[in-house]
Symmetry: C2
Subunit: 155 residues, 2 copies
């Protein structure tokens, strides 16, 4: 069985110095998490990134594309593709900025809000399953530490 082989390799190399690398741990957990999230979002024809954009578009906070790029740590040019795709599907709309005509404000349509609500529920169940090995307290702690490390790394 594949899972057993994987566990065998895990234990056989557990003594290797690399087992405790933050980089490797992050890469593995991120890959696992992305995989599960994208599977959960597939029935809505969304992926992690398009879901993130849709979520912000639903927030009522009137994000500009530049702000989306900064908040999601993506390049502005990547935001263009994501917004293009969601807009072509009628889930979000671009609106010209009121005070600055260069900016484009991204807001969800009624359709977008509906899809988002369903996708959100599916993702939450998925996240819960991902952190099943942790207690409620540990899950909160993990999020807090990730957030703290992140804020430090940006400064």
């Amino acid at each position: 069985m594949k899972v057993q082989n994987k566990i065998r390799a895990e234990t056989r190399f557990s003594s290797a110095e690399i087992s405790n690398d933050v980089g490797l741990l992050l890469a593995k957990l991120h890959a696992l998490s992305s995989n599960l999230n994208n599977r959960a979002l597939a029935e809505f024809d969304l992926r992690e990134r398009s879901f993130s954009v849709l979520t912000l578009a639903c927030s009522g906070l009137e994000p500009t594309q530049r702000e989306l790029a900064e908040f999601l740590s993506l390049d502005p040019s990547q935001i263009v593709s994501l917004v293009d795709e969601l807009e072509s599907r009628g889930l979000i709309e671009r609106a010209a900025g009121k005070h600055d005509r260069r900016v484009k404000i991204v807001a969800a349509t009624a359709d977008g809000i509906g899809i988002h609500a369903k996708a959100r529920a599916a993702l939450q169940a998925c996240e819960k399953a991902q952190l099943a090995a942790l207690t409620e307290n540990e899950a909160v702690q993990l999020k807090s530490l990730l957030g703290k490390a992140l804020r430090g790394g940006e400064a």
Copy 2:
């Protein structure tokens, strides 16, 4: 300044439900970590993945390619490319398995061991900088929680 814009976006959207998504936190921290690690490894012409393979090849544990794939959560075909590249540079070597002629055992050359030691030192300094916002205790805790979540997710 760019960092300030980023922080402005962070705070403006901090109330949005998505801010606390494990998936987003992992994606952002992983991206940041990979970026820094790859920059640190660039002077050795290594990347996170090739460094991981080289590290295991240096461990003396005689890993097969299949075991590398399982331990690193990569597809066997991806291991082929990584091993090809490191072998062509004379840093590692493939050896036929003793009991099973199908398997190939990957071991570092003297050159590989030398490069690895230098790269390892550079990476450790880099990791320390990445987790600078955390106390020593918090860093240990983060690694422990990542490992625990990971083991649960594989079962």
